[in-house]
């Protein structure tokens, strides 16, 4: 009995030491997260409840909901709704184009997969704004796209869609390929051995395995496109105001409270979406 208690005590001590060392190892990450994410976010939330002198930009931390009330006015509701629709359209396009591409890449041999991933990522080596300016030149009246295809897309919705998809598809493809890459190759052979055709394998094996990658890619593209303003401004002509352009134009100045309120609400919405997605995923995994 006494020996058993002694063993248990030793094990608990070891576990406690391991827990302490794990906590110690997590300290730098926690500190970084605190300094780079949590504290700035708290500043943003505090700023959303403040007032800014439009002349001197002095901040009066008034703890007022004024910015939130303003955000709910028809003008900004319209801006929010349009930005959400714009982000959703971008996500749908990236999923529609990026998923087949990722599936195809994941089925390649190691060597060709690497080559294809480098090709997918290659445009990202060029500065984002420069790439969008390049599209502007290509799509302009008398430019190569009009000359070859006879279409005039600059400052039209197709130009924005093109700019968004070319900018964000690589960010979608990468996690999907990574997710599929981790799947054991035997499962595809097993599906074939059990008589599943290509479509059945796609629906019952491949896509479920890619689910986490698709969710990650969707999240990344959704978050980034929600705040995007360079593409709509340069390729869409900047005719409509989006959350991104509002934040970029005035977020650092006289509209800091409004920008703070918009950011807070967007973050909470995204966090809620992520939480719901995680819960749904857990439920599916439990049923499986």
């Amino acid at each position: 009995m006494g020996r058993r208690v002694g063993r248990l005590r030793r094990r608990l001590t070891r576990l406690g030491t391991e827990g302490a060392s794990q906590r110690f190892l997590a300290l730098p990450d926690t500190a970084l997260l605190l300094v780079a994410v949590v504290i700035p976010l708290l500043f943003v939330v505090a700023r959303s409840l403040a007032q800014v002198d439009p002349v001197t930009l002095e901040v009066n931390q008034a703890w007022t909901w004024e910015a939130y009330r303003r955000m709910l006015s028809p003008v900004y509701r319209e801006v929010l709704a349009r930005s959400a629709a714009f982000a959703a359209a971008t996500v749908v396009l990236c999923v529609a184009i990026g998923t087949p591409a990722a599936l195809a890449i994941s089925r390649l041999s190691e060597r060709w997969r690497t080559v294809m991933l480098v090709i997918v990522l290659l445009p990202s080596f060029v500065n984002f704004t420069v790439r969008i300016f390049a599209w502007q030149g290509l799509l302009a009246n008398g430019g190569p796209v009009q000359t070859v295809f006879g279409v005039r897309w600059l400052y039209q919705p197709p130009a924005v869609a093109l700019g968004m998809v070319t900018a964000y598809v690589p960010l979608y493809v990468l996690p999907v390929v990574a997710g599929l890459h981790r799947a054991p190759p035997d499962v595809f052979d097993a599906a074939a051995d059990l008589g599943a055709g290509p479509w059945r394998t796609l629906w019952r094996v491949t896509l479920p395995l890619a689910r986490v990658g698709i969710a990650t890619g969707t999240g990344v593209v959704g978050v980034l496109s929600l705040g995007e303003f360079v593409v709509p401004t340069l390729l869409g002509g900047g005719r409509v105001m989006l959350v991104g352009s509002l934040l970029a134009e005035r977020g650092a100045g006289r509209d800091q409270p409004l920008a703070g309120a918009l950011t807070t609400v967007l973050l909470l919405t995204l966090a809620l979406g992520a939480a719901l997605l995680t819960m749904a995923r857990r439920r599916v995994m439990r049923h499986e």
Partner: protein, 359 residues
Amino acid sequence: MQVSRRTLLAWAAAAGPAAWLVACGDDDDAAPATTAPGAAPTGTLNLLNFAGWAGPTTYADFAAAYPGASVNEIAWVSNDDTVTKARGRAGDIDVALVDGTTFPRLAALGVLAPLGNVPNMVHVDSRYRANDWDPGDEFFAPTDHGRTGIVYRRDLVATPPTSWADFVSLAPEYSGKVAMLDYQRSVMGNLLVMLGHPGSSTDAAHLAELQDVLLGLKPHLLAVSGEVGKAVATGDAVMAMCDAYDAQLALTSNPDVVFVDPSEGQVGYLEGLVILDGPRNDLGRTFIDFFLAPANYAAFINNVASPYVQPDNAGIDAALRQSPVINPPAEVVGRLSYHEFLGEAQAQWDAVWDAFGAA
């Protein structure tokens, strides 16, 4: 509760490493210019300016002319950003390019240092001096000005617009091929002028009238952008509300582009350099004087092709001097009104502009 810079620093200190990041911009760390009595100042001047808004070798020439001195150009972001950087010298800026709308905000903050003795100010024409915001030329050294007019394609527009009223009435005819500048003050100011109101009016009735005009124009617009001149030059748009310097670029790239100074008058801006009071005032003063020296000023204007404030400067390219866009006739300048500081009324302007943007 006012959040002062000191409070901010206290919060940041509580956040540990963040304190270091914030304190990086503190004045105490700034290296002051050293000036022996009667000697030229040395040190690095932090200049808040439009990227490249100088002669091709202005900064190098300054460093060569004043050994030990150099210029660090910091890119201008927005008027609000200028105010933020100037407040408490948060950006460690020594000299900033500002216009008549930002100047009063800096003056209200009490961050401006007197220009003092700038001998080359004599080359600035009297039309651009003694402005409402600095009647004694105590703080503001004018460098350039601009105005917004109409550009159109003579080969694509049958009835040439000569006024803002023409611009608005022709928009439905060329629906989807009309572009507008994305600068609130210019767009709203010029349309207020068209309506017969002051270009910086804050009257609620005037702004409501203006909003109706803007919302009427919106369906016909191809783009609201900073690059409308280019759109007209390429033919994506046939007509645009456009800044003079942008128009000059469009004229140069396509001879069918025409710039019109609307008959009702225009709003415009006058830009100039100011010294933000700090450890390098003498260096700032020396740089401003150097910048306004005729040869250096001519190099600047020849580089940026902007309307200028030294009309007698023979170093400015003949092509620019002969361009009515860059060197407007006296009657055009006479009809010009500069953007005025809106103060608290800026919120009303923002509301109209946002309604236009959201429509």
